[in-house]
């Protein structure tokens, strides 16, 4: 039976060595570039017509724009508009990375925790910087929960700080675990199709068909969740609480 986690192997395509630093161009790098290229092509080509009444492609581009703009308006408020380029880029990158991973022969870059962790740590550092720039030292009052007796504050403040520091971990683990688990599940069922033969093999094949549909939902949902949480963190940093 095929190894269900073989699909996550990183294979070097072009060996690059930058002064002792291993900067090899791998299949993961290739799919990151492909993701960026696909998003750029999708948005620029579909908006090329600039029709007043949008066609199918322009509708999709406008839909994604309005989706993220609405998300920012609902979760961050009017101050959130300044962060639209970043949040939109983040959403489109994750969405297209997840979707490209579902294509046949595709490689899912978001199934590697280091990729999702870098995305999460960029959000975390950025949001913290926004909070400190807006509020100065008052930002640290965020770690002091309100309405708590002074006696338990020595316990609550470390817990609040750990809870805050755990954001990039939970953000990255959620995306990574969902993508990895889904792809392993599909592969495991696919691995049963041939060994079960012409009569038994149809059942896991049917399950896999269902799973593919489900995985498309998960791919979108996880990009959405990542973006919503980024918006919520931005809201916390801007409004403190």
């Amino acid at each position: 039976m095929a190894n269900p986690i073989e699909q996550f192997t990183i294979r070097p395509l072009v060996e690059i060595n930058l002064g002792g630093l291993d900067a090899t161009f791998t299949n993961a790098s290739a799919f990151m570039l492909l993701t960026v290229a696909t998003v750029t092509l999708f948005l620029s080509l579909s908006m090329r017509g600039r029709a007043l009444v949008p066609g199918r492609w322009q509708s999709m581009a406008e839909l994604s724009y309005e989706f993220i703009a609405g998300l920012l308006r609902d979760n961050v408020g009017t101050e959130g508009r300044r962060f639209f380029p970043f949040v939109f880029t983040l959403f489109m990158f994750i969405l297209f990375a997840n979707m490209l991973g579902l294509m046949p022969y595709g490689f899912t870059i978001t199934s590697h925790i280091i990729v999702t962790f870098v995305l999460a740590i960029v959000v975390f550092i950025g949001v913290t910087a926004v909070g400190i720039m807006r509020h100065g030292l008052k930002f640290f009052s965020y770690f002091v929960p309100s309405g708590v007796p002074a006696a338990v504050l020595p316990l609550m403040i470390p817990i609040e700080i750990i809870s805050y520091l755990s954001r990039p971990i939970s953000l990255s683990v959620r995306l990574f675990a969902n993508m990895t688990a889904g792809h392993i599940m599909m592969k495991v069922f696919a691995g049963f199709v041939i060994p079960l033969g012409i009569f038994g093999g149809w059942a896991p094949l049917g399950v896999d068909v269902l799973l593919v549909g489900f995985e498309f939902l998960v791919a979108f949902l996880q990009a959405y969740v990542f973006t919503v949480l980024t918006c919520l963190y931005l809201h916390d940093a801007i409004h403190l609480h």
Partner: protein
Amino acid sequence: MPKKINENNNSEDDIDDLGRRIKAARGPESTDSPKNQAPPPNEGVGQAMRVGAELLSGLIVGAGIGWFIDGWLETRPLFMIVFFFLGAGAGILNVYRSTGLIERNDTNHDANNNKNTNNPIDSKDLPE
């Protein structure tokens, strides 16, 4: 002259009416934002995944901080144990917050009504 005013009124009425009709047509649609939509199927799996990630991340960060402090002060098991439990607390706090069982604060951000009354910690100003 009066005819003209009448005409004006008519067209304004028309515009108001049109606005009302557009609003009525949009009404049900605008409540259909992603927030109010019914949860997708298999929401249970997603929620389990979410809660698991929250719980785990608190533990990882807590134990990690303890491990680093131990390596720095050479007090190997002490701080790791202490921060393991703090991390567990943070993980549980994360779960409660992410599932919406408790809010971060009982005050609304745009209505800081009880900021100075029954919030002794918040009113204590930190040095700027």
